[in-house]
């Protein structure tokens, strides 16, 4: 009896995790898209994209540099758009 209970609990846990993973990965994709867009908007000056006023870029620059390094190390393969931009300036 106890065993069955564990099995059922385990099953629902699995379902729950499965669903959470699906929705997490959706959110994850969304997050990555926003992060990419944000980075391109604020660091686009590197490739001549239209940029926010230089003052704003200068102010955000130190933080974005750090942010981008973390984002890049978080997942390789991500950040293709930005990666190629940075590549032009031989940034790894």
């Amino acid at each position: 009896m106890r065993n069955l209970f564990e099995v059922i609990k385990g099953f629902f846990k699995g379902v729950d995790r499965g669903m959470r993973e699906v929705s997490t990965s959706l959110i994850q994709n969304e997050l990555e898209e926003y992060e990419n867009a944000f980075a391109l908007l604020t660091m686009g000056f590197l490739s001549g994209l239209p940029s926010p006023p230089t003052g704003l870029v200068i102010r955000l620059f130190p933080h974005m540099q750090r942010e981008i390094q973390v984002m890049m190390s978080k997942s390789s393969g991500l950040f293709d758009a930005f990666g190629s931009t940075m590549g032009k300036f031989s940034v790894d």
Binding site: A37, L41, I58, L60, R66, Q69
Partner: protein, 323 residues
């Protein structure tokens, strides 16, 4: 409340002369006045006959003056940021950082940014009743005065976007824990809290600064005037400046027609010029309703030194001025 004055106009029309005379005049009637040149081309020291570059110099009882070095300011500022970044994040490759800074240093808009920073710094001083700014040529200055509004559009949409990022991060954090990464041997955490997120914090403080400047530039305590000469091209140029400023909700108070030639019986050679002058003044008065038009004659010699500037104020600027 400090009153601030800007005198805009194209190169060589007399911005430095008139802003210096104006500052000298207001100081003479007892207002504690600071005269600041924001022009990368230094000429204030020449107009005053006193070296004022790089520091605030006492000119007379109530008058201080200074000339800021915009290029140096940009250089120092970027150097500062770069040094801080290198010491905070050791993993950043020095080479790449320097390359970025080189791009930034030469980006369009960097001068305007530095000038705006200069303005911000001086208007925050509350020991002055009056601050008079001598400005770089009008095109650039219009961009500087409009920058707070333009920047706010960007800042507000980036803040909204940042919020979305942080809220997504929070959702994922709830499942997977915090975003940590090992970058070159250092542990760095990406937060989902607005208060802890340096990007959001910078956006918010930038937004506050820009709002303050935007409000200041459109307020009663900020007076913008145009200096020009009575020539055909001046009218359309002046209207262009007025129109551009209007888009930023910055009204123009006065137009100074400098180097006006008052000649009783003009010699043959300049009759055409004198007629042009007369017709420009007439059209200006018609077309620029609500803006005072003030004529300042061409003087016998270039006005230099506080006493001469003061005389210029008394003779031509003071008239009808309620301070």
């Amino acid at each position: 409340m400090t009153n601030i004055y800007f005198f805009l106009g194209k190169g060589g029309v007399g911005k430095t002369t008139i802003s210096s005379a104006w500052a000298a005049g207001l100081a003479k009637i007892g207002r504690k006045t600071l005269l600041v040149s924001l022009d990368p081309a230094h000429t204030l020291s020449d107009a005053l006959n006193v070296m004022v570059t790089g520091r605030i110099k006492r000119i007379s009882d109530s008058l201080d003056a200074t000339e800021i070095d915009i290029d140096q300011m940009i250089q120092d500022y970027l150097q500062d940021v770069s040094t801080t970044m290198k010491s905070t994040y050791r993993y950043l490759s020095t080479l790449n950082i320097d390359r970025y800074f080189n791009i930034l240093k030469n980006s369009p808009g960097v001068e305007e940014y530095a000038i705006l920073e200069g303005i911000k710094e001086f208007v925050s001083k509350d020991e002055y009743d009056i601050i008079v700014f001598d400005t770089p040529p009008a095109g650039m200055m219009v961009r500087v005065l409009g920058m707070p509004r333009v920047s706010l559009v960007w800042t507000e949409s980036l803040i909204a976007m940042r919020r979305k990022i942080l809220s997504r991060r929070r959702m994922i954090e709830n499942v997977q824990g915090r975003f940590e990464a090992d970058v070159g041997g250092e542990k760095v955490v990406l937060t989902s809290e607005e208060k802890e997120d340096p990007v959001m914090q910078e956006l918010v403080s930038y937004k506050n600064e820009m709002e303050a400047l935007r409000n200041l530039f459109s307020s009663q305590s900020c007076k913008v005037s145009i200096v020009t000469m009575a020539e055909e091209l001046a009218l359309s140029e002046t209207e262009r400046i007025i129109g551009a400023l209007k888009e930023f909700y910055i009204p123009v108070e006065k137009v100074y027609l400098n180097k006006y030639m008052r000649i009783e019986n003009p010699p043959e050679e300049i009759i055409g010029k004198i007629e042009e002058q007369g017709s420009v003044v007439m059209r200006m008065k018609e077309e620029l309703k609500g803006i005072d038009i003030i004529e300042i004659p061409m003087l016998r010699s270039s006005p230099r030194g506080v006493e001469v500037l003061l005389a210029l104020y008394r003779d031509y600027l003071k008239e009808g001025e309620k301070v």
